[in-house]
């Protein structure tokens, strides 16, 4: 079932057209807006994730694409065709449900054949395609079992096969790995990525797990309170968050609140609440550049260096004492108690000797390693 649609992983590469477009989509439930003016363009063949905390409207957005919900306003296009009046059973999309929603009265085989039978496909063709789908998810030997006789991970595979066998234009995945334990989840992430590469289908996945979104996706839309806060590649989202929410939600970060004292297109001078001066190189977010007002500086733990002496001019630094060590396997994070009363998380470089508790430490970072974001929350 491999298709040979060429697809595009690069951020700036040739645009092959959109599989799904959401235009100013709103969804109101009982007077409460779950989705407020979402615009999305999902490219053909890409692995697209909708990421956000629970209640941000991400699942509703997916259900709007699948057709289980109708938008209150706005338009949803699939390969340029408006889908708003098309019921779910005529849309060329298939869904992998969070709870799998396997049919308990049917065997694994019959579950997978369900969609093909409805299409009135011939018996032999159905058999071949079901076998192929079972092979794809490595479930051949379980064909005759009932869903209740399978483990969670196996049910997940059946749900995937049941959707994929219909060769949808777009595969929708609603928190597909949410119910699996950590180890199985990691293994399934790899398999999802492999499946996506082999099939060349457009995958749209909803998840609240930022690590999962970062590792699997070509592009990510971060949603909050019914809106898309930012859309971009994993590195854009991680390295260049546009809002305080995105900076906090994706990865670990330190936030320092302050006020802009001086602005230049290449440099911002910011004074923190405690009166300390910081320099930040502004980045183009597509929004209006920051020139004044309350901001929050975001510095990732791995961008900060620790040293025993104050740094040379031109670098940002704060001073404090070691408070806690957090051993994370691949690296060690430490929490600094700053003289200003706040705490700062710093990733210790490899081989860094653990300082004695009462040694004064300087946490240093370059202006280009931090971001200034509007302090909107």
């Amino acid at each position: 079932m491999a298709q040979t649609v060429p697809h595009n992983y690069s951020e700036t590469g040739l645009n092959l057209g959109f599989d799904i477009e959401l235009r100013k989509v709103f969804k109101v439930f009982n007077g409460e807006a779950a989705v407020r003016g979402v615009d999305l363009n999902i490219r053909r063949g890409e692995f697209f994730s909708i990421l956000g905390p629970s209640g941000c409207g991400k699942t509703t957005t997916l259900r709007l694409i699948a057709g289980f919900e109708l938008p209150t306003a706005g338009d949803i296009l699939l390969r340029g065709q408006s889908m708003v009046d098309v019921p779910p059973y005529r849309r060329p999309v298939n869904t992998v449900f969070q709870s799998y929603a396997l049919f308990n009265h049917l065997t694994v085989e019959e579950n997978i054949a369900f969609g093909l039978r409805l299409k009135k496909m011939g018996r032999g063709d159905i058999q071949n395609q079901v076998r192929e789908a079972l092979r794809l998810v490595k479930m051949e030997e379980w064909a005759k079992r009932l869903p209740a006789q399978l483990s969670g991970g196996q049910q997940q595979r059946v749900a995937l096969a049941r959707a994929l066998v219909n060769r949808p234009t777009v595969l929708l995945l609603d928190e597909p790995l949410g119910a699996l334990d950590l180890k199985l989840r990691k293994a399934m992430q790899m398999e999802l990525k492999t499946l996506h590469r082999e099939l060349g289908l457009t995958f749209v996945m909803v998840t609240h797990d930022q690590e999962e979104a970062l590792s699997l996706s070509d592009r990510i839309a971060v949603m909050n309170r019914g809106r898309v806060e930012q859309m971009g590649s994993p590195s854009q989202i991680y390295d260049r968050p546009h809002t305080r929410f995105v900076a906090e939600f994706i990865g670990d970060t330190n936030l320092i609140t302050g006020k802009i004292e001086g602005a230049h297109p290449t440099m911002l001078w910011i004074t923190s609440a405690e009166g300390r001066q910081f320099k930040v190189i502004p980045v183009d977010t597509g929004n209006k550049p920051l020139t004044s007002g309350a901001v929050v500086i975001s510095v990732r733990p791995e961008k900060i260096h620790l040293q025993y002496e104050p740094p040379a001019d031109g670098l940002n630094y704060v001073e404090g004492y070691l408070k806690n060590l957090l051993y994370l396997g691949t690296h060690v994070n430490c929490q600094l108690q700053l003289t200003s009363g706040e705490t700062l998380v710093v990733q210790l470089p490899h081989g860094f000797e653990i300082p004695p508790p009462d040694t004064r430490l300087y946490a240093v970072w370059r202006p280009e390693d931090s971001l200034a974001l509007p302090n909107d929350s």
Binding site: G67, P88, T95, F97, Y100, F103, F114, A148, N166
Partner: protein, 274 residues
């Protein structure tokens, strides 16, 4: 008896404790009369409490009694019709209540289950008064109608419970795979609900077969259900062939009830791991 403090470990002695004796007493109180009845159904004495030897003649006697067989036939007709109607209506009602929102839904839901609480005599009298008021002549059909009232409640209750435990996304999964709403209902929802529907029907069947009160109020001339026939014979005297018939009825009801519970339990087990 004072409640034990919760932290104290419960260390029961192995021999009989008072709870055990209490249970034995309760079960004895409930089931001893039935055993006595069963015992006398094998008694060769025509109408006395003295034991005159083992016989099966009371069993063979009622099987040759035309009036009893006719009454049994009437009862079966009523039970099958009432259950068939209730199965369809009850299932649709349960699905409708679970899947759709409409004004007055809560009220509707509570009214549905009302026949489970209302005393049979109240249903019987009010049905009779109603039928008289709209001048519908009493017949076998009126018993069926009255039985549908409570059969429907049982079927709807059991099917509703099952729907409540069902994965709410099953129908959406069917739609997603290309089934229209009707196909989703027939191909997915109905098979998933089948154990509950069957179990509800069997329970309703037993209740309809056993009902005396409602049937006796709503039966027309010439119709006579089995419980009515038994009652009319008992009014004069207790005959051993009625003992035998009661034993047969109880065993049959018991078997149906056990089958019904087994089906429901199996269905739940199948579903329990998603």
């Amino acid at each position: 008896m004072a409640a034990l403090p919760e932290s104290q470990p419960i260390d029961r002695p192995k021999h009989f404790v008072w709870q055990m004796w209490f249970s034995v007493l309760m079960f004895g109180f409930m089931y001893l009369p039935i055993f006595v009845l069963g015992f006398y159904s094998f008694n060769d004495a025509p109408n006395s409490a003295t034991w005159a030897g083992f016989t099966l003649r009371w069993y063979s006697k009622f099987f040759q009694d035309d009036r009893i067989l006719n009454a049994l036939f009437d009862s079966l007709k009523v039970a099958f019709s009432a259950v068939a109607i209730s199965a369809v209506l009850g299932t649709l009602m349960a699905v409708g209540l679970a899947r759709y929102r409409f004004p007055g839904k809560r009220l509707y839901q509570n009214v549905t289950y009302l026949p489970l609480i209302i005393p049979d005599i109240a249903i019987a009298v009010s049905t009779l008064v109603f039928l008289a008021a709209v001048s519908i002549p009493l017949s076998l059909g009126t018993i069926v109608a009255a039985h549908v009232v409570f059969c429907l409640a049982y079927v709807a209750l059991i099917v509703s419970t099952r729907i409540g435990n069902l994965n709410p996304y099953l129908e959406e999964a069917a739609l997603d795979l290309g089934a229209n709403p009707f196909q989703a209902f027939i191909l997915v929802l109905l098979p998933e609900l089948a154990p509950a529907i069957i179990s509800g029907c069997l329970l309703a069947f037993v209740l309809s077969m056993d009902d005396f009160l409602i049937a006796s109020f709503t039966a027309g001339g010439g119709t006579n259900t089995l419980p009515m026939e038994i009652f009319s014979r008992l009014r004069t005297q207790v005959k051993p062939d009625m003992n035998a018939l009661s034993v047969v009825l109880m065993v049959a009801s018991g078997v149906v009830a056990i089958v019904s519970e087994t089906i429901r339990y199996r269905g739940e087990q199948k579903r329990i791991r998603h």
